[in-house]
Amino acid sequence: MFADELKTLRRLGVRHVLLQILNFVSVLASGLMIWKGLGLITNTESPIVVVLSGSMEPAFYRGDLLFLTNPPNQRYQTGDITVYKIPGADIPIVHRVLETHDLVNKDKDLVAASPLAQKQLLLTKGDNNHIDDIELYQGLEWLERKHIVGKVRGFLPYVGYVTIAMNDFPQLKYALLGGLGLLALVQRE
């Protein structure tokens, strides 16, 4: 099937093969770096996530793509939609903040001026759920800032289904990667 291309590769030598492999690998590398760079700029480890459940309907449906940021100097307020991860749970959860409390330091007489000098405690609830998330916290009473992945800033409907498909059918992921690799190896510039 690729007899012509294999013949060409054999004729052109080691350097050429290395160049072609570099073409493919550098596409992957630049994708990875763009992802990591985006994570650094938005201050969150996962700047783009996909909604998996229907607990936030009618705002977000399964398959929506969400864009997150995690501003380090702003307080989270009631009404913000956050993505959080409980240590010990596999997947992050997208729910809305129901209550916020500040843990005031009782030892000192002063209150710090910085908005985040006091620790923030949060309680969340999904729009489409009847009860708040206490049972999901696995023993914790409140969420703290360190559990929060980010705050939702924008979304794209339906696009996330591609990721869901690739997760549910890993063969699709490998087929896509394999196809891309083959294409990059035989195409030139």
């Binding site: 013949k7 350097r15 290395l18 160049l19 990875l32 990591k36 994570g39 650094l40 030139r188 510039e189």
Partner: protein, 242 residues
């Protein structure tokens, strides 16, 4: 490629393009008055040599340019002709693979270490990657440019003569009157005693439409191409010889 024997190179070739190419003995054995006569014999393609057929998509100027560039490299890299200098390719490979390794390392680091702790390391990795990619782009745009072949040749003729040739190629776009063409540019330098004394310099550029070398099925007429390249290279090597 099968090594070409001296006999084959010196046999009367079908295209004596310069008109003054007797079956010349190889240049190393005697000191010909103009060293280039030996080279002209070498520059003639050997009709008897078996070649693999080169077939490309003749609707794609990119494919045709690549086929011509590869044929050029094969033709000029023969043992008695130029030895290809791979500096540009090596720089591109080095920068490219280094940036890929750094990207991989940064990704691995960010995966292993929790996010908050990993931030400085990941910043360093991302910035280094951006810098290397920028360096690659600038190098290939400004320094490498259109160059497809850089070759060196050392001959012994009372003293060691070093010849260096740099070849650029472009595709000239098609117009309603002309098909797309292959524009070859050559830059030639001949020097002695380790590059200190300049013996000759030459420049040439010529263009031919792709239709001269590719038929309607996309098969490349390598003989014709090599004859043309041989003629241009021979001309620039003879041009300003001492």
């Amino acid at each position: 490629m099968a090594p070409r024997t001296r006999k084959a190179a010196a046999s009367p070739s079908p295209a004596a393009h310069n008109g003054d190419t007797p079956p010349a003995p190889p240049p190393e054995d005697d000191a010909p008055p103009t060293p280039s006569t030996g080279v002209d014999a070498l520059l003639a393609p050997v009709a008897t040599l078996e070649r693999e057929e080169v077939k490309v998509n003749n609707a794609s100027p990119t494919d045709m340019k690549h086929a011509c560039d590869d044929a050029l490299k094969r033709f000029l890299s023969r043992p008695d002709l130029f030895k290809q200098i791979h500096t540009h390719t090596d720089v591109r490979l080095a920068l490219g693979w280094l940036s890929v390794l750094i990207a991989g390392g940064t990704g691995l680091y960010g995966w292993r270490v929790p996010f908050e702790q990993s931030k400085p390391g990941v910043w360093a990795g991302v910035l280094l990657y951006v810098f290397l990619t920028l360096a690659q782009t600038l190098y290939s745009y400004f320094i490498e440019g259109d160059i497809v072949f850089v070759g060196k040749r050392k001959t012994f003729d009372k003293r060691i003569v070093t010849e260096r040739i740099t070849i650029t190629s472009r595709t000239t776009p098609s117009s309603p009157h002309a098909p797309p063409g292959y524009a070859l540019g050559l830059s030639y330098l001949r020097s002695a005693s380790g590059g200190k004394s300049l013996l000759g310099k030459g420049r040439a550029s010529e263009e031919r439409p792709y239709t001269d070398f590719f038929d309607e099925h996309g098969v490349m007429d390598q003989d014709r191409f090599e004859r043309w390249v041989g003629a241009v290279v021979g001309r620039v090597m003879d041009g300003k010889a001492e």
